[in-house]
């Protein structure tokens, strides 16, 4: 029980969004921000500070790695590591399970107004 809790607390929303943005291809900072904004329908707009503090943690956890691009030395590119893919899969599995449960319990059809 504790292990499950710890595992799902490991990825904050921003970190999850960054991993998801990097799941398609390697990207530099600006591309990650744009992809995260698109993926969240404009709900998550990262600033460079928020992006790179999260990127730093993801690098330290070895969930992403830096990639050299000789044609663009001004920008740093990042891609998922094997661990990063595994963490993303585990997180997606968790969300998928949650969505299935929510559908079974008809969470979206609950009329909260009747409780007020």
């Amino acid at each position: 029980m504790y292990r499950m809790k710890k595992q799902y607390n490991q990825l904050p929303q921003v970190a999850f969004s960054i991993l998801l943005a990097l799941s398609l291809k390697e990207r530099h900072g600006y591309e990650v921000i744009k992809q995260v904004t698109d993926d969240s329908n404009g709900k998550i707009n990262l600033s460079p500070g928020a992006l790179y503090t999260s990127i730093k943690q993801l690098l330290e956890q070895k969930l992403i790695e830096e990639v050299k691009h000789d044609d663009d030395t001004r920008r740093r590119y990042y891609r998922l590591t094997k661990n990063g893919k595994a963490a993303l899969n585990a997180e997606v599995d968790y969300y998928q399970n949650s969505v299935t449960l929510a559908r079974q319990r008809q969470v979206l059809e609950i009329n909260y107004a009747s409780y007020c």
């Binding site: 904050p12 900072g29 600033s47 730093k56 920008r75």
Partner: protein, 207 residues
């Protein structure tokens, strides 16, 4: 006509990036400025560029603060929260202890508690300045029990002094103290009575 070059917006951001810890700045400073430049360039309107500025500036203290808290260590979100909570609990404890100490001090000053020795009380009575010095104070002193007398539901405890005057305390109930024991007593100064052999303090209680 004199032309001055307008500074690039990113140069202002490059200055602001100095708020981050040096180790973080060394690794990510340049690339953060580049990303900020890319974000500004991608916005076609002034409103869009203003939004980028607002978003970046509002986040700046939070992300810089987070970086100072983690201090470059691999620390998960949970640990950060624990660290912040720990600091908050410590701050509450320090403030609480400070308030208790200040309140205690204030209470003592308000009701005029005087820390004295049994010898001081004897001297004051002998020199006829007992009531002017201690008449309106609560007297708090420690002393060694020299003798005990019990009767009529009162206990008279005599304290040893190195003066010719003794200090005798009258407790309103039987007291389980022994000769030679050192006890701490509180007594109203106004209740003192001059006796041949020294000072008699009424309504004493153990502190």
């Amino acid at each position: 006509m004199r032309h001055t070059a307008r500074p690039k917006p990113s140069s202002l951001y490059a200055t602001l990036v100095r708020i981050y810890p040096q180790s973080f700045r060394t690794h990510y400073g340049t690339t953060m400025v580049q990303t900020f430049d890319d974000l500004l360039d991608s916005e076609a309107t002034k409103i869009g560029r203003l939004k980028v500025w607002v978003r970046t500036l509002t986040d700046l203290p939070f992300s810089a603060g987070k970086e100072y808290v983690t201090n470059g260590k691999d620390i998960t979100m949970n640990k950060t929260i624990k660290l912040i909570l720990g600091a908050a609990v410590l701050a509450i404890f320090i403030v609480g202890a400070g308030s208790y100490w200040a309140g205690n001090l204030h209470a003592r000053q308000s009701i005029g508690i005087e820390h004295v020795t049994a010898s001081q009380l004897g001297d004051a009575m002998q020199q006829d300045n007992f009531f002017s010095s201690y008449g309106s104070a609560a007297l708090l002193f420690k002393g060694m029990v020299y003798s005990i007398k019990t009767g009529n539901n009162v206990t008279l405890v005599t304290f040893a002094t190195n003066r010719p005057f003794n200090v005798v305390c009258q407790f309103p109930a039987n007291l389980s103290v022994k000769t030679g024991q050192t006890i701490s007593v509180i007594a109203p100064g106004g209740s003192a009575e001059r006796q041949k052999s020294g000072v008699l303090l009424h309504n004493c209680s153990l502190n």
